[in-house]
């Protein structure tokens, strides 16, 4: 291959990880003191994670039997048995704003906004709303290292879905900072980890002396003259960028001030951070000749690494808000690594009520629940005062569609784990009769202490949570 770019095109992931790994030995952890944000006056804060599962669920094996406290978990939810007291299964919800369009995209991009997306192949991408994680981040994100995290396992799906005339990027984004600012998921655990835990400011220098900040200042100094030469739509794109510059600058200032506070992480948290870092290095193994940027990690380990990062981020109060996408809408992830499954996720989800396909679909769904249970269990094992991290959190798990075969929008699968500091009546199966998903979100934002509590069209919280 005689072209100039072929060999340089992609450095193997291993090389990249190695490169970072070299600076990742323990000393950085010792140098790293002040991740802890201010604890709230009333003690530990409430945290929120929203975990999105693509392609729906097998409907006849999802819904628990019985209601209230005396319910029995369904086969797909059975991995949550040991956590039954800490969760609330909510049936009968629907996201009315997502009904407008066919296919997955309307039901993915709107999962956390409860608004109807703009139908476009790309010229005017808009969710027409802000997702609840970003609503929360804007209010409660200022006192932590990162206002929010957006994690996932699959790269953004490029291209246009000509079937429905939509840009596929709608299927790869559940977090919307603004109606026209989708936030991409970080899929590399090493980068997600470093962004949170690696000390970028070892010297403890003041905000004004920070080299990153002075570089950003040069850019901001220069921005106005550029703006003057542009038209309106161009200015809008530029503003999006400049806002990002300002936000990162604020973050750097924030970190600097936290350094001054000199708060320490507990030795136990430090130990777990080191262990997780080690695990990330190990998972990055794989083939030396990796071609392309595909993260060919073990799928289960990949998900768990991301979950552990969320758990440790919450525990160390490095962020209080996170989203996670198990996969993108219409994900064709090959699930043949599970016993009893041969084929890809989306393809199997269109099961035509064929018994064999339904069984495979169920195995895939159950795997997702197992990972969710893993995360809840980890949070349950971390004490916070007299409670646990799980008691102080809300971890939403679900999908934007019910039966993937028909892209059904009624009775979408939703589980809420954690107690939000005693503000949620867990240990129950809450049956709602077609209530809107947005009303659940109103209730969640309220429990996070967020004052803006209008989600989509709803401003009143779901009854019974």
């Amino acid at each position: 291959m005689a072209n100039i770019q072929s060999n340089r095109w992609q450095i193997s992931r291993r090389q990249t990880l190695k490169g970072l790994g070299a600076t990742m030995a323990l000393p950085f952890l010792e140098a790293m003191r002040p991740l802890h944000g201010q604890s709230t006056a009333s003690g530990d804060p409430v945290r929120m994670a929203c975990l999105f599962m693509p392609n729906g669920v097998r409907p006849d094996k999802w819904t628990p039997t019985g209601s209230g406290k005396t319910y029995k978990l369904s086969p797909i939810l059975s991995p949550l048995e040991a956590l039954k007291e800490e969760i609330m299964v909510i049936s009968g919800l629907t996201n009315k704003a997502s009904h407008g369009g066919d296919g997955h995209y309307f039901k993915t991009a709107s999962w956390l906004t409860c608004t109807t997306i703009e139908k476009t192949v790309g010229s005017n991408v808009s969710s027409n709303g802000i997702s609840i994680d970003q609503v929360a981040a804007q209010e409660i994100g200022n006192s932590t290292r990162l206002p929010s995290m957006e994690l996932g396992t699959e790269p953004i799906t490029s291209g246009i879905d000509r079937n429905v005339n939509l840009t596929r990027l709608y299927g790869s984004h559940i977090s919307w900072k603004k109606p026209d600012v989708p936030l991409p998921c970080e899929i590399n655990p090493r980068i997600a980890f470093d962004r949170l835990f690696r000390n970028r400011n070892k010297s403890g220098s003041s905000a004004t002396g920070n080299p990153d900040k002075s570089i950003l200042d040069i850019v901001l100094d220069d921005a106005n003259s550029l703006k003057r030469s542009l038209g309106d739509e161009d200015t809008h794109k530029l503003d999006q960028y400049l806002e990002s510059v300002r936000e990162v600058e604020r973050r750097i200032e924030n970190e600097a001030s936290q350094l001054g506070a000199g708060q320490n992480l507990t030795p136990e948290a430090l130990k777990q951070l080191a262990a997780l870092s080690e695990r990330i290095n190990k998972a990055g193994g794989g083939s030396k000749n990796d071609f392309g940027s595909l993260q060919r990690l073990n799928p289960t380990e990949h998900v768990r690494l991301m979950m552990d990062i969320m758990v440790l981020a919450f525990w160390t109060d490095s962020t209080r808000v996170s989203t996670f996408m198990f996969g993108n809408a219409v994900s064709g992830k090959n699930f043949s690594f599970l016993d009893g499954v041969s084929g890809s996720h989306h393809s199997i989800s269109h099961h035509k009520n064929d018994k064999k396909q339904l069984d495979q679909y169920q195995i895939i769904n159950t795997w997702h629940t197992e990972q969710y249970a893993y995360m809840l269990q980890r949070m349950k094992e971390i004490p916070e005062g007299s409670a646990t991290l799980l008691d102080n959190s809300m971890v939403l798990f679900g999908s934007g569609i019910r039966d993937g075969n028909a892209h059904a929008t009624k009775d979408i699968p939703i589980v809420l784990g954690g107690g939000a500091k005693g503000q949620l009546k867990t240990g129950r199966h809450l049956e709602t009769n077609g209530a809107d998903l947005s009303s659940l979100y109103v209730g969640m934002l309220k429990r996070l202490g967020v004052s803006k509590q209008k989600v989509g069209e709803a401003s009143r919280e779901l009854r019974g949570i």
Binding site: R168, K177, N188, Y241, S244, N334, G343, D354
Partner: protein, 619 residues
């Protein structure tokens, strides 16, 4: 060929219509027969027609017009299970009116303009190549940037679909620091960046200004002003004053260049008060280099831009040829052809099951990708007809790939090289492992996906979406309950709601069934039953085997060329196409036909087109 009749509408001349006449002539028909299924209430097949209530609206939805004509003309719509069916006369009149508008759009008998692209952020590939050319670094600093979404005709360089977020800015900042650190760590690169040293300490500021102006001109891709330079010079002065060395004081301004929006975004100046204007020379140089190289202009282009020579079509043509000949034009093969044809999926998306296909390893994945890249580059550099994409008597392969394909021709070594083919099944992109694998599922082939790919990617004729409950066939073809895979698909297609489209889709895929899910030739399917590659399209078009499919497609050269032109125009301009671009496409295709479908002619025509060289005040 009959395929042409099916897929192409041939317009005949009709008298022009005024705007209100269009509305008056179409609304009664649409209201009576269409809107109950394709209106505000229901949007069957995702088709909405109630908003085509003016000439302007018809322009906006011009892509739909051909489909409407086709459906109504062939009697597919309105469906005959409806309560009311139009009379032949009603049908005829309606088709006449819509066809007339369609024809006027295609011939440019409607208001024309250049169009407008929004401020374009460099996507992650462009960032990589640009930094490579700017500072000479040889690693990919954008490796961990999030993938860019796509818009318009499906490309990740579409301005409107490129966003910024704080997380991305953090990555820009980290990448900028890494790039500058590696420049400083390499004496050669450092000398290339710090082009001179001050002779006396007094010269420091003037020398820094010279160095930074040089790099800012390259990074911002235009002449820089005092105003542009001030923040950079100030940063230099501040660091020098604080006691840093001359070289180290240039570090922050260098780094800042790489996160400056003038670098990260391709800005084109607004000209208030005008409705349309010619791009300036630097803007043309930038468009040209990002089109052909996905990177910044080189010295020669800058020199010509600076001298104001790029407005001259002869100069532009010579430059285009020079740039095509450069190895950097591989970027066009990778990112234009890769996304259009879909072979870029080989890089990270395509994931054949490793237990079922143990020979599908990294070497093979890479070889398939580069076969396609080299093939397209060959068309471009050697000016082969673009119809070679449909069928050719050569391809590119190394020993691994030749063995995988079972080629009779002797190919040795790991390098990809040109191979003549005697086997008529293999040539063209349809016979390529990249295409055959990326249109398959992890465990089996998908005649449906392959059929849809031919209609959409080659002919620009996407199929409407299946109804949500249409279902899919088993993900694996080894558990077929005694039926061959094809027999299952045939049963599936019997449902009337499926037949209409699948009668057109599936046969195209059937003819490729001898290629398995990773592109190997096979005579038997996964269950040991013989492959049946015979196919019949509506209208008694019968064919069998890849070779015959390719023959059939060769009869639709113009349609293929029109589709490729649309794709390339969208890629080159960074925006989706509008109705006024259709006339540009029509004109280019006519010229292509004359030139024997020359690939270079296509590039020249696009570079010379109104949308490429001009800019309007409105979209």
């Amino acid at each position: 060929m009959r395929l042409l009749i099916l897929l192409i509408f041939s317009a005949s001349a009709f008298p022009s219509l005024k705007a209100d006449e269009f509305r008056d002539a179409t609304q009664p028909f649409l209201k009576k027969y269409c809107i109950s299924c394709h209106g505000e209430e229901k949007q069957k097949g995702d088709i909405v027609l109630h908003d085509i209530n003016s000439l302007d609206a018809a322009f906006k939805k011009h892509r739909l017009l051909e489909n409407i004509i086709d459906q109504v003309e062939h009697g597919d719509m309105p469906p005959d299970d409806g309560d009311v069916i139009p009379t032949d006369d009603e049908r005829k009149k309606f088709i006449e009116v819509v066809s007339n508008i369609n024809k006027r759009i295609k011939t440019g008998d409607v208001p024309q303009k250049a169009g407008r692209v929004t401020l374009r952020r460099l996507n992650r590939h462009e960032y990589h190549y640009t930094v490579r050319d700017l500072f000479g670094v040889n690693f990919n600093p954008s490796q961990d940037f999030p993938a860019d979404g796509a818009g318009g005709e499906g490309f990740d360089n579409t301005a409107d679909a490129l966003f910024s977020s704080p997380a991305l800015l953090e990555k820009y900042l980290a990448a900028a620091k890494k790039v500058i650190a590696s420049v400083y760590a390499n004496p050669g690169l450092k000398k290339r960046a710090i082009i001179k040293q001050p002779e006396t300490p007094k010269d420091a500021e003037a020398t820094a200004k010279e160095i930074l102006s040089y790099h800012a001109t390259l990074a911002y891709r235009r002449r820089v002003s005092k105003e542009d330079m001030a923040p950079l010079i100030n940063a230099f002065k501040r660091d020098l004053k604080s006691g840093k060395s001359f070289d180290d004081s240039l570090r922050a301004p260098f780094t800042a260049l790489l996160i400056n929006p003038r670098f990260l975004f391709r800005a084109e100046q607004n000209q208030p008060g005008k409705t349309e204007w010619k791009l300036n020379d630097f803007e043309i140089a930038t468009r040209l280099s990002y089109f052909l190289w996905s990177s910044m202009p080189d010295r020669e282009l800058f020199r010509l831009a600076d001298a104001g020579k790029l407005g001259d079509p002869k100069v532009l043509k010579a430059q285009t040829l020079r740039m095509i000949a450069s190895p950097k034009s591989t970027a066009l093969a990778r990112h234009f052809a890769g996304q259009w044809i879909g072979f870029d999926k080989m890089v990270s998306v395509v994931d054949p099951d490793s237990r079922r296909f143990p020979n599908f390893n990294n070497d093979l994945r890479k070889a398939m990708y580069y076969e396609s890249v080299e093939f397209f580059s060959h068309l471009l550099r050697k000016d082969q007809p673009l119809t070679d994409l449909i069928d050719s008597d050569y391809t590119f392969a190394n020993a691994t790939l030749a063995r995988h394909y079972g080629l009779k021709e002797k190919v040795t070594g790991s390098e990809i090289k040109k191979v003549s083919l005697h086997n008529k099944q293999r040539g063209g992109i349809i016979g390529m492992g990249s295409v055959l694998t990326s249109t398959s599922l992890p465990l089996r082939t998908s005649p449906v996906l392959r059929g849809v790919w031919i209609l959409d990617t080659l002919l620009g004729d996407p199929a409407p979406p299946p109804p949500p409950d249409a279902g899919e066939l088993p993900a694996d073809d080894t558990k077929a309950d005694g039926l061959t895979f094809r027999e299952q698909l045939d049963i599936h297609r019997k449902a009337p709601k499926c037949a209409n489209c699948h009668n057109r889709i599936d046969p195209l895929g059937y003819s490729l069934e001898n290629f398995d899910a990773i592109g190997r030739w096979r005579e038997k399917d996964a269950n040991g039953k013989p492959i049946d590659s015979s196919a019949a399209l509506p209208g008694d078009i019968e064919f069998s085997s890849p070779a015959e499919l390719k023959q059939l497609l060769m009869s639709a050269k113009n349609k293929f060329a029109a589709n490729m032109t649309r794709k390339m125009l969208s890629y080159a301009t960074g925006r989706g196409l509008e109705y006024y671009d259709e006339a540009v496409v029509t004109k280019i295709v006519a010229k292509l036909k004359k030139s024997g479908y020359s690939t270079q002619a296509l590039v020249h025509e696009i570079v010379n087109s109104r949308p490429f060289l001009n800019r309007s005040s409105t979209q």
